[in-house]
């Protein structure tokens, strides 16, 4: 019997109070390597239920221009997966890690180069509760799933508006943490409105998955979630843009409270 998922518990705690859980996304090292940790602490102190940390990659095919540009800035500043995990481990050991469970979002190649066994062990030691890997569909999940599960780290499935119930069921088997529904047929980035089929697809996903279903991509304002039965909302581009314009994480989170 594996340990209960910290991610699922955090999301269920939020939904129990009648609101979706809030999952802000910030690329590691943004806006710079020092201030990132300040903003991470601010997200934690101002209502984030789970925090998603981006692992920068040179070729992020699922990301829109805002996240891609931020990631490339971080790479130029010298951010590496090794740096991220070492910093997280140091904070976990010092007891200064965020209280919200952490999720790493990154592409397959940097994780593969780090080594899956080392990745799973170091992520767990750094307090990482889950991982999102956008270029890892069901067919390629096996080695990642096995390594992460052994360390108690949840591999979060990503599904889309074009994912059939049959494929959702494949992902739903052994699903832990939460499922991530991509709300648009496209890349990350803010949209004024979400496509009509989101509501129906959310309903199907919540029926099939035994874990909470989070909605991400295209979300910038809490009003967009009205009437949508999402268990959690993930937002990144709007937060990055807010910080780039001179704001801070605390100010951004205020609008979601």
């Amino acid at each position: 019997m594996s340990a209960p998922s910290r991610l699922e518990a955090a999301i269920r705690a939020a939904t129990a109070t009648g609101r979706p859980a809030l999952i802000p996304f910030l690329p590691a090292g943004y806006p710079d390597k020092d201030r990132f940790w300040t903003e991470l602490a601010a997200l934690d102190a101002h209502g984030a239920d789970v925090i998603e940390i981006g692992v920068p990659f040179s070729d992020p095919v699922a990301d829109g221009p805002v996240v891609e540009a931020a990631s490339l800035e971080c790479l130029e500043a010298g951010v590496t997966l090794a740096w991220i995990l070492a910093e997280l481990k140091a904070r976990a050991a010092a007891g200064t890690a965020p209280k919200a469970p952490l999720v790493l979002m990154g592409y397959a190649n940097p994780f593969l180069q780090y080594g899956l066994a080392a990745l799973a062990a170091d992520a767990a030691a750094g307090g990482v509760a889950g991982m999102i890997i956008p270029d890892l569909p069901y067919e390629e999940r096996g080695p990642f799933q096995d390594a992460l599960a052994a360390a108690g780290v949840d591999l979060i499935p990503l599904i889309g508006l074009n994912t059939s119930p049959e494929r959702m069921r494949l992902y739903a088997d052994n699903a832990r943490g939460f499922a991530y529904l991509v709300s648009v047929m496209g890349v990350t980035g803010e949209r004024d409105t979400l496509p009509e089929p989101v509501k129906a697809q959310l309903a199907v996903a919540r029926e099939i998955f035994p874990v909470p279903v989070a909605l991400g991509f295209g979300i910038s304002r809490p009003e967009q979630l009205q009437d949508l039965p999402a268990d959690a909302a993930i937002f990144g581009s709007a937060l990055i843009r807010h910080i780039k314009a001179g704001g801070d994480a605390a100010g951004f989170m205020a609008r979601w409270q």
Binding site: D135, P157, M185
Partner: protein, 400 residues
């Protein structure tokens, strides 16, 4: 074991796969199904064969170099893909995929291109078959390859400059994948080499194998046996794969892929992924890559724009790992020398990509058995590279 048969669908040994966002799995499954049914049907095959003959001009000739054979003491043969319509082997694949697109009921043919050759071939096939055409191209390449941009526009294609990343081919591929996610209902992504997620490496190889199939038959007819060496340049690897594939079971035929070693200067990122790269995942496939220890993709360089890619087709990685093919490097200077040699000796202006394959033969001819038969795939003609050649000559004049 030397067979390249996938051990499971989409894999060649440890290489291949489908490392793409879940949103791309439905169109990949749709493509796999269409390829297995539509492209395998006699009607499709007949229509494509007719176009290959009447529109592309196949079979392309197999020419024995008169002067160079004598000078080198070997029999040097050229498989003349430069004589195919649009001047390169690229048309074999784009026409196949364009026809498949039409039969699938999609209306837009989308591609990315580095040097512009694949873009021109895609635009050509789209125009002929009445499909809309959209081509993503790195903003740097749009400037470097202005002539090919103009050709694509004349053929009715829309060229979209990509401003992100290094503004070259790999970023154009990222942009194309993103576009395909959003427009998959109407659009087919016509990948130009044996790269990308399954089933693309197989589809592109199969549409390009006409090169090797024809070459085998032509050798049987001309010398009564197969050649001793088959040599092809290898960037993404489509012309090399199309050339090698029909020879894989012929163990007496040595297969040599030639990669671009770039300038050889410190900091030159070359394009020699098989000889210099390491295993990793890029653009949907597990293969050999130019990358940092952290798994970030390095920029690449070659004087030949078509070889300038930090990855390579997964089946090549397998052919190398299994020992069936070997991969060697040629640098910019050697390729340029081979370019000029072929121009003067045989009256053929080769593409700079093909000049790499030719350069390997020129550099190694002394160690090859006297009188052996060496076939080089001349993947394209060099008219497109005259701007690069002129720039190099002007730089050399200034330095002299």
């Amino acid at each position: 074991m030397t067979t390249s048969a996938p051990l499971r669908a989409g894999w060649f040994g440890d290489f291949g796969g489908q490392f793409v966002p879940e949103l791309l799995m439905p169109p990949l499954h749709e493509l796999e199904e269409a390829y297995a049914t539509i492209a395998a049907s006699p009607a499709f095959k007949e229509e494509l064969a007719g176009l290959m003959t009447d529109y592309v001009g196949r079979p392309t000739s197999l020419y024995r170099c008169r002067t160079l054979s004598k000078e080198l003491g070997i029999n040097l043969w050229l498989k003349r893909e430069d004589l195919a319509h649009t001047g390169a082997h690229k048309i074999n694949n784009t026409l196949g995929q364009a026809l498949l697109t039409k039969h699938m009921g999609k209306t837009v043919l989308m591609a990315e291109t580095g040097a512009g050759q694949h873009g021109v071939a895609t635009a050509t096939a789209a125009a002929m078959l009445g499909l809309e055409c959209l081509v993503f191209m790195g903003a740097t390449d749009v400037v470097r390859q202005a002539h090919n941009v103009r050709r694509m526009e004349l053929l009715g294609a829309t060229v979209h400059p990509v401003q992100s990343g290094t503004q070259t081919l790999k970023d154009a591929i990222n942009a194309a994948l993103r576009y395909w996610i959003a427009e998959q209902a109407t659009t087919h992504y016509c990948i130009g080499s044996v790269v990308g997620p399954h089933p693309f490496p197989i589809i592109v190889r199969d549409f390009q194998r006409c090169i090797g199939d024809e070459m085998r038959a032509q050798f049987r007819a001309k010398i009564g046996r197969l050649p001793d060496y088959v040599v092809a340049c290898c960037g993404g690897g489509s012309n090399a794969m199309g050339t090698f594939y029909p020879y894989i079971e012929d163990e007496g035929v040595q297969l040599v892929g030639v990669e671009a070693a770039g300038t050889g200067d410190p900091g030159c990122y070359h394009s020699a992924t098989l000889t210099q790269g390491t295993n990793g995942v890029l653009h949907g496939t597990r293969t050999k890559l130019l990358q940092t220890e952290d798994g970030q993709i390095l920029p690449s360089h070659s004087v030949a724009p078509g070889l300038d890619y930090p990855g390579v087709g997964p089946e090549h990685a397998w052919l190398q790992a299994s020992g069936r093919a070997r991969y060697e490097c040629v640098n910019d200077v050697q390729a340029l020398a081979a370019f000029h040699t072929l121009c003067r000796a045989e009256g053929i202006i080769p593409a700079l990509e093909s000049s790499h394959a030719l350069a390997w033969v020129l550099e190694n001819s002394a160690s090859l058995p006297k009188g052996c038969h060496v076939a080089v795939t001349l993947s394209g003609r060099g008219d497109k590279d005259l701007g690069i050649i002129q720039e190099i000559q002007e730089t050399q004049r200034k330095q002299a």
